[in-house]
């Protein structure tokens, strides 16, 4: 059955009973239709109930759910065609970031995104979705390539952070991220950023500057992971749940704070419960947003992008 979060357990348990009852009905030729329907309605209600009042920490857990669709899972479902392009032309290829060109609904787009792995070998290959500088540089190279031909950028964000390691520092992790912020601010094509899982810190923002920034319903985005925040401010990484609450890191929090432009709904039960349905909603959203952004002339697009970030934050004077 795979990975189950604590708060998912009552639903999973109910689903198991439904399956058992179906098997029983089939094998014994019993008439249990009414009973099954009653249980299914109950499961649906329960799921809606649980998912309508998720805590921030539960959303963090959903954003990290091992069955949650990753960048390539979405690309497979939403693209007419896609060709991955590798390497930063300077040091190497970073499998923690995917970059390439393709079509969505007939529209040519550049796609960049963090990539996590699902089994242990894949996890290691993808470095758990934690990029090195060459990943950010590859993404920028491909975005600029697309921009040369007027192709809009779709960026899918899902990272626990940029990798903190010796090689990463030697090759200028900070410079690579800073350069991307700078260059993405002035890229003369529409940039649509979607947080599809975890949005941790500069590692997320490094491919996350755009005209429209949307978050899927069960994702988080903040300046540091809840564990990192707890380790520093509470001096106890175990206080992550408290830190998650304090940091206001969910889609609805950030919409209210003016950090993001919209929230993309997920199927009830989360994107991992029904990846096809999640991808369908994502594709519809992308096409709608692209239509709106494509109507804006590039110089105005860039001017408004810089101005949008200029308005962010709160202060008094």
């Amino acid at each position: 059955m795979g990975f189950v979060l604590d708060f998912e357990k009552p639903i999973i348990e109910l689903e198991r009973r439904i399956r058992e009852m179906r098997d029983l009905a089939d094998s014994q030729n019993l008439e249990l239709k009414e009973e099954i329907e009653r249980l299914e309605a109950k499961a649906q209600k329960l799921r809606q109930e649980i998912y309508s009042k998720l805590t921030r920490w539960q959303r963090v857990q959903l954003a990290r759910h091992p069955n949650r669709p990753y960048t390539l899972d979405y690309i497979e479902r939403i693209c007419d065609d896609f060709m991955e392009l590798h390497g930063d032309r300077a040091f190497g290829d970073d499998p923690a970031i995917v970059a390439g060109v393709g079509h969505i609904g007939g529209r040519p787009v550049t796609i960049v995104g963090h990539q996590k792995g699902r089994e242990i070998k894949q996890k290691l290959l993808r470095n758990f979705g934690m990029p090195h500088p060459e990943g950010y540089r590859k993404a920028l190279r491909v975005m600029k390539l697309g921009a040369k031909f007027g192709r809009p950028v779709i960026s899918l964000v899902d990272t626990p952070g940029a990798y903190p390691g010796i090689g990463a520092e030697e090759r200028g992790q900070a410079e690579a991220i800073a350069r991307n912020l700078y260059e993405m601010s002035r890229l003369p094509v529409p940039i649509l950023v979607i947080i599809i899982g975890e949005g941790a810190s500069g590692g997320a923002l490094g491919i996350g500057v755009g005209d429209r920034v949307l978050m899927m319903e069960n994702t988080w985005y903040s300046v540091i992971s809840p564990e990192g925040c707890a380790a520093i401010l509470w001096r106890d990484a175990g206080k992550a749940e408290q830190a998650a609450e304090a940091m206001k890191l969910t889609a609805s929090d950030l919409l209210a704070l003016g950090v993001i432009d919209g929230v993309i709904p997920e199927p009830v039960g989360g994107a991992h419960h029904d990846p096809d349905a999640a991808a369908k909603i994502l594709k519809e959203t992308i096409l709608r947003e692209l239509d709106a952004l494509s109507a804006i002339p590039p110089d105005r697009l860039v001017r408004e992008r810089v101005a949008k970030y200029g308005r962010m934050g709160f202060w008094k004077e």
């Binding site: 903190p164 200028g172 410079e175 800073a178 912020l181 700078y182 002035r186 540091i224 810089v306 709160f314």
Partner: protein, 298 residues
Amino acid sequence: MSWFRRTQKGLVAQQKKDLPDGMWLKCEKCREIIYRRDLEENYFVCRFCGFHFRIRAYDYVRLLADEGSFEEFNQHLESVDPLGFRDSKRYSDRLKEAKNSTGMNEAIVTGTARVEGIPYVLGVMDFAFIGGSMGSVVGEKVARAIDRAIELRYPLVIVSASGGARMQEGALSLMQMAKTSARLTLLSEARLPYISVLTHPTTGGVTASYAMLGDVILAEPGALIGFAGPRVIQQTIRQELPEGFQTAEFLLQHGFVDAVVPRKELKARIAQLLRFFGFTPVQQAGEPSFACPEVERQ
């Protein structure tokens, strides 16, 4: 009246790296005993080993601005607590304490000044204010400093010292990285130079935004500069970090800073660069005029 007396025996952890009071000081690096007045005269650099003591924002202003030329702007911008953040302390209380202990409103000071007669916009961060962390106000003051430079057609110099983006403002702090980096594209479009000076320590979100985006990047000797802090890296990779890792000299070696410049030479180097970019001293009323010196030829 206890302000002139040390109220605590020993130093509390938070102040450990800041300059202690007293006539005689011990160098953190070579352990030599230094007379305070000597240290002051030597720009708070140990004359035995060259260790750069951490100094405050207004010390850099005195160091890098011609006497009496600094005019601060946006000093009244103050942080609010947009998330209602609370860990062991309320963020609003932390802000109050930082204001009281530093006498500053935020972790950066910005203004116009002159360096060897050349007018410019200067921003200096102060690590003593919540670890020099960048929240909405630091980001906004940097953005406005860029705007002022564009408006006056002045070059921009920012001296960084920061632990990174401020956690207590969550994603709003993160967005200041985008805000400042985006605004720097306008400075570049206006063909105005930006010199970034990195001091000990410059890490996290500040390094990963405006600190690494200088047209020229200078660093003080021995300064810790990086994206992730050394402790985080060590916990992640579970091995010893190489000697000199993430120092200014390490960044120089790997091609990420243009020059490591001792504090004593910082002002002259900045003026030298600004002259190269075509900026000349202005004559102020009642001041002697002097021409732009020729670039030295070997």
